[in-house]
């Protein structure tokens, strides 16, 4: 039952728009320069499938039955129109892997070439032959009638079909950046400019292009389709009444000229919309990949450890979706805890992959190896050194074992900025030393053992903190020590450093920053 309604609906729209087109026919009562049904048939068969062909056939038959040509001609034209739609739909669906949303450049190109240019030849050829057979056309008129038929059908595929395809597939209709008020303003402008151009005998028809481009860039496919429909409606209405820039040509020719102009403009707008939405999709997927990577690089939140307080800060440089090379981690190991901070040299996706490798290598190695505390860092060095390209990572690993009134810390530093311990509000740099991981096949490490009392705050940070550029120089350790003076908790340490950096920094942040602060209570 639903199928019958679909058929009747499509056939009804087909007939209505066909009658409208035939009203504008001059050369022959069966051949018109404006033939929207071609676009309706193509859209219906692409969206609803080949099974809707009876609707196209019925619509074509009813439209042409009283045009005063012999029955054999009417049947021929009906056959041509039906085959045209089926050919177009087949080529688009099978050959072009066509998406009716038109949001890829290849979809627009397929519609223009396979749909508008090729499938329309079927209808023009069969139709003209039918006219010849029915003696409704002389041989001498054949070329010009064929051309009018072809171009008229092409106009239907290029102006009507996109609007239907876009209307059926875009949910929500407007995903572009344009605002509702902008749409209203733009609609009036497009209509106004179209009326100005097509009501006067002027030659600057190209003035419509900026407005169609505006529509395409801000409202994507729906914008391009709707704006083109407005231009097409105005153009046909005035041109058919002998007004506008093409008025001096013959009745069929001037409609063809006006329609070709709109078709070219629409194709341009659709291509532009496709490029814009393709780029947006690429950006979106890039941002999603970056966000996913970023998410995997940082612990979602620091674990709650009984008897400990911890606080962290991470801020990658550059725009929001860039992945940084800094990382930190805090996890349980045999007999205690491991706090890690690290920095991978480099930028972009390669650095992100390396960051992930470094973080999980350290975590796995520290969990499995246990003793000595330097084992994890040495393992990381081997993993990085064996990579084909130079892969560097600086890191600090702190192994924490709880003891009476505090904890024992073993600090292993691999070419990283020196950690601080803030004891009774006084920051003290830990003079650790060790080589950068990944640079050489062996490495020298000098771990430092330290007893942390309850209330001592251990602060780890990356060089993005101390290298921050101010008006005259870098942030450096002196300002860091100043910021850490009087600090009594991890949270306070992180907040103080953040605030000092915000006051100090000149211009944009250039490098990633990470801070991890812990205290046993």
């Amino acid at each position: 039952m639903r199928y019958v309604f679909q058929l009747l609906g499509v056939a009804g729209v087909y007939v209505a728009s066909g009658k409208l087109g035939l009203d504008l026919a001059f050369a022959s009562h069966s051949v018109t320069a404006v033939w929207p049904p071609t676009g309706i048939a193509l859209a219906a068969l692409v969206l609803g499938g080949y099974r809707l062909w009876p609707a196209v056939a019925l619509g074509a038959l009813l439209t042409n039955i009283d045009t005063g040509v012999p029955a054999v001609t009417v049947l021929g034209i009906t056959l041509g129109n039906t085959l045209e739609g089926l050919t177009g739909a087949y080529l688009l669906r099978r050959v072009a892997d066509f998406r009716p949303s038109l949001d890829r450049v290849r979809d627009v190109l397929a519609l223009v070439s396979l749909g508008a240019m090729i499938s329309t030849m079927v209808s023009a050829s069969i139709g003209v032959t039918s006219l010849l057979i029915g003696n409704a056309l002389g041989f001498s008129d054949l070329p010009s009638v064929w051309r009018t038929w072809w171009l008229g059908d092409m106009g239907g595929d290029l102006i009507v079909a996109p609007a239907l395809l876009v209307a059926a597939t875009h949910r929500p209709l407007v995903r572009g950046p344009g605002k509702p008020w902008e749409a209203v303003v733009l609609t009036f402008l497009v209509a106004g400019v179209s009326v100005l151009i097509f009501s006067q005998h002027t030659t600057f028809v190209y003035v419509v292009f900026p407005f169609l481009i505006w529509a395409a860039l801000r409202f994507w496919q729906p914008g391009a389709a709707v704006a083109s429909l407005i231009v097409a409606g105005v153009a046909v209405a005035f041109t058919a009444n002998g007004k506008g820039p093409f008025a001096t040509s013959g009745p069929d020719d001037r409609l063809l000229l006006a329609q070709t102009l709109v078709a070219v403009a629409e194709t341009t707008a659709l291509l532009l919309a496709a490029v814009t939405s393709e780029r947006r999709r690429a950006e979106d997927s890039l941002a999603e990949i970056a966000a996913t990577l970023q998410h995997s690089l940082l612990p979602p939140e620091l674990p709650a450890i009984p008897g400990w307080e911890a606080s962290s800060h991470y801020r990658p440089a550059g725009v929001a979706n860039e992945v940084g090379g800094d990382f930190y981690d805090l996890f349980a190991i045999d007999g205690g805890w491991m706090a890690v901070i690290g920095d991978v040299a480099g930028k972009g996706a390669q650095a992100a992959a390396l960051t992930s490798l470094a973080r999980y290598t350290l975590r796995t190695a520290a969990t499995l190896l246990g003793e000595p505390a330097t084992g994890a860092v040495r393992h990381l060095n081997r993993v990085l050194y064996e990579r084909p390209e130079l892969s560097l990572c600086s890191a600090v690993c702190v192994r924490l074992r709880e003891q009476a009134n505090g904890a024992n810390a073993t600090i292993v530093c691999a070419g990283h900025t020196q950690p601080y311990v803030v004891r009774d509000g006084v920051p003290v740099a830990l003079r650790t030393s060790g080589e950068l991981a990944g640079a050489f096949d062996d490495m020298t490490l000098e771990p430092v053992a330290l007893d942390l009392s309850n209330g001592d705050v251990l602060v780890l940070y990356t060089d993005g903190v101390t290298d921050t550029l101010g008006a005259l120089d870098r942030f450096g350790t002196r300002r860091l020590e100043h910021a850490l003076s009087g600090v009594r908790s991890p949270q306070q340490a992180v907040e103080r450093i953040e605030r000092a950096l915000a006051n100090f920094q000149e211009g944009v942040q250039r490098d990633d920053r990470a801070i991890l602060a812990i205290m046993c209570t």
């Binding site: 440089a317 480099g346 560097l392 030393s433 640079a439």
Partner: protein
């Protein structure tokens, strides 16, 4: 006033020896011009590359990576790398990472 992040790079090619003279700050924002300079300096396959760091005021981790990369290139392709040592205040990053003993530093004049 010279912005702390400005970098001046000069490439000098003289037969078998190429020299890159650097002045200013080597960091993530300026590393690109140094990479370009290295490409130009190595274009004629010199047997020795000298990187003059005596007027460099700051080197960050990307600068360090650049020098280690260049060092690795020199070992792979068997040419000699010489680094002219920057001021003591700039050596911090090399000492911190243990690379001061590994990279071929010569005392500048």
């Amino acid at each position: 006033m010279i912005r702390p992040s400005d970098l001046r790079v000069e490439v000098d090619r003289d037969g078998h020896c190429a020299t890159i003279t650097v002045g200013g700050d080597i960091d993530i924002a300026t590393i690109g011009s140094l990479e370009t300079a290295r490409q130009r300096a190595l274009a004629d396959n010199p047997t020795r590359l000298v990187i003059d760091l005596t007027s460099v005021g700051f080197v960050d981790s990307s600068g360090l990576k650049f020098l280690l990369e260049t060092h690795r290139l020199s070992q792979q392709h068997r040419w000699e790398l010489q680094l002219l040592r920057p001021a003591e205040s700039t050596m911090g990053v090399f000492r911190l990472t243990g690379t001061d003993k590994r990279l071929p530093f010569l005392d500048g004049d």
